[in-house]
């Protein structure tokens, strides 16, 4: 277990973390401000990945794929909001869970009808296919480095918007006390649409970046969605800061756990026991972390809502 390997895995953890953050930022706001349980958030991620992959297939250009997929996903998101989600804002959580579950089934199947159930082939754009030299002796995939940079840039952008703009103030107020914001005469519908749009765009961005390095399959959205839930629970509902901290923590714990738990266990338990226990425990790590956080702070690390 060389230090360079550790650094590399830390970078991977950070990269996974920013992907989680892109999903978590939008979702935590939707939960916090609109009190909407949107299970179909993962579907937007999936749609982003599929549209980008398809566009890449048609045009051969990654840039064209991004230019197409991002607005297209945003559009799909807005359509979903108008058609299905608007009527759910006033409903109780159970209704929202079931309805968005129905949306997931629909999207997964729609994607399977168009592109089949097998994983879609996609590649990292040639310009970013190489490695960059991070440290002497450590070369890191350029594509993953770009993901980290994009993610951090988005985090900074969100920070600026949330703390230095009027919109951001409304978002923070809405996350803290939804009814008050409505009572103050703010155009709640518009705020909801903007927030949802934000979230959809970020999810789509996550999806299109994820395509080349993760598998593009029906149902890919839900896999990451559940990890995003863990992030939000740990970070605190309604808090972007919480989403960032939670995402990085979860990303690190999961990646480092998967990389190092088995070798660490095999020195204690022996290789064959570690062969089973290692991956098993590693897959449980983030949930155990969530349980621990919940035990001491049920409202999360940076809860936005008050009482």
């Amino acid at each position: 277990m060389s230090p360079l390997l550790v650094v590399e895995q830390c970078l991977n953890g950070l990269q996974f973390g920013v992907m989680l953050f892109l999903m978590a930022a939008g979702l935590t706001l939707v939960f916090g401000i609109m009190n909407l349980v949107n299970l179909a958030h993962g579907s937007l991620y999936m749609v982003g990945a599929y549209l980008a992959t398809a566009a890449l297939g048609w045009t051969g250009s990654f840039v064209a794929a991004v230019v197409f997929a991002l607005p297209a996903t945003l559009l799909v998101g807005m359509l979903v909001e108008v058609i299905a989600l608007r009527s759910l804002y006033e409903r109780d959580h159970l209704d929202q869970v079931l309805a968005t579950f129905g949306l997931i089934l629909f999207f997964n199947e729609a994607v399977a009808i168009v592109w089949g159930r097998a994983a879609l082939f996609t590649t990292v754009p040639p310009a970013l296919a190489g490695h960059i030299q991070i440290l002497p002796g450590l070369r890191y995939p350029a594509y993953r480095a770009v993901i980290i940079l994009v993610g951090l840039a988005i985090a900074v952008l969100l920070y600026v918007v949330v703390s230095h703009t009027r919109l951001g103030m409304l978002i923070r107020a809405g996350a803290s006390n939804r009814t008050m914001v409505a009572a103050l005469g703010v155009n709640i519908r518009l705020l909801y649409t903007v927030v949802f749009g934000f979230g959809a765009a970020l999810a789509g961005l996550g999806g299109l970046m994820a395509g080349p390095i993760y598998t593009v399959l029906p149902g890919m959205g839900e896999e990451i969605l559940i990890q995003v839930f863990v992030v939000i629970v740990i970070g605190g509902i309604g808090s972007i800061r919480g989403a960032l901290v939670g995402a990085v923590v979860v990303g690190m714990v999961d990646t480092l756990g998967r990389a190092f738990l088995k070798p660490m266990l095999s020195t204690v338990l022996g290789p064959s026991a570690a062969d089973n226990a290692g991956p098993a425990l590693a897959s449980m790590l983030i949930y155990l972390l969530m349980a621990a956080v919940l035990y001491f702070r049920p409202q999360g690390l940076f809860p936005a809502a008050r009482g």
């Binding site: 009190n35 959580h93 159970l94 869970v97 079931l98 089934l105 839930f229 629970v233 509902i237 897959s283």
Partner: protein, 314 residues
């Protein structure tokens, strides 16, 4: 009148279920015994979820986890040569109850959106756990060498005997559930759903009752899991996949939550629909998805609410 009509529906429904093997034999379609046995097994799972969801208002999206635990509690001992049904099924109920107790103890510290996400997350954790253990089939799953053994009289290898065992369990659970709902315990659960702060103000520590209900629901679902493993003679971690939790939840809502018998109707409707639609197209879920949205928006009281005299139990 209300409860008379409901009782009649219940009796009629159960009578029909009791006659399925007879009808199937007459029509030379043993497949129906299989189909309805599967339906009843999921009905048991749905009824267990109804206890906490319909009556308790706890939106647990991870209920399929207990289905999986119950199934593994049968398959793993069988793998090691332990075929006693008593041992396996007791293990199934005990382990899933225990798992529910632990998961509930953490999850019930939250509510609302958090609760839903957390129960989902824990269930998925168990799913990933199941996938990663190579010794027990990983994601390929395990075969069940022999069905649970209960001695010569109750031979689960006989499809009709097995069918009536499941039916008997379903009826017993419905009756026990009915008593529980109207006993002190059930009253606390229902009232806590109606107005939790009030419950605490009059002196109920609602947490422990909700946790108990959660554990009971998990345990009963574990029994359903044991039955399922016997039914399919095969199991995979996919029994615990979150979409399975969603399916069970749909059965409860579709049938009519908070009614005990509604989920049975829901299981019948859902699985029959699945059977019919999937014969039609492999992409049947694209119909189910929007259908679900529509049911939620316009037919919330479910099938039970459409029946004469139907409505909330108690």
């Amino acid at each position: 009148m209300d409860s008379r009509a409901r009782a009649l529906t219940l009796v009629a429904g159960l009578a029909i279920l009791a006659l399925v093997p007879v009808i199937a034999a007459l029509a030379h379609q043993p497949f129906y015994v299989d189909l309805f046995r599967r339906i009843m097994i999921f009905a048991i799972a749905a009824v267990s979820l109804d206890l906490i969801l319909g009556f308790g208002g706890m939106v647990s999206f991870g209920h399929a986890a207990y289905l999986g635990i119950g199934a593994y509690a049968v398959a793993i001992p069988a793998f090691y040569g332990i075929h006693s049904g008593l041992v396996q099924w007791t293990l199934a109920v005990a382990l899933s109850g225990l798992a529910a107790l632990v998961i509930g103890a953490v999850s019930l510290r939250t509510s609302g959106v958090s609760f839903i996400m957390i129960t989902l997350a824990f269930a998925q954790m168990l799913y990933y756990l199941g996938i990663s253990i190579n010794a027990w089939g990983a994601d390929d799953g395990m075969r069940l060498a022999r069905r649970s053994q209960f001695g010569p009289v109750v031979d689960l290898a006989n499809p009709d005997v097995f069918y009536y065992v499941v039916l008997g369990l379903l009826v017993a659970l419905l009756w026990l559930g009915h008593r529980l709902i109207h006993a002190r315990f059930g009253t606390v659960i229902r009232a806590a759903r109606s107005n939790e702060p009030r419950m605490q103000a009059i002196g109920f520590t609602t947490f422990r009752y909700k946790l108990a209900a959660f554990a009971i629901a998990g345990a009963v679902c574990g029994l359903a899991g044991a039955l399922l493993a016997n039914h399919t003679e095969y199991l995979t971690p996919s029994y615990m996949h979150w979409t399975r939790s969603g399916d069970i939840m749909v059965m409860v809502i579709l049938g009519g939550m908070g009614t005990l018998f509604g989920p049975v109707l829901g299981a019948v409707a859902f699985l029959l629909l699945e059977d019919i639609l999937s014969a039609w197209t492999v992409h049947w879920q694209i119909v189910l998805g929007p259908l679900l949205v529509l049911v939620v928006l316009y037919a919330r009281r479910g099938l039970y609410g459409l029946l004469p005299g139907g409505g909330r139990d108690g």
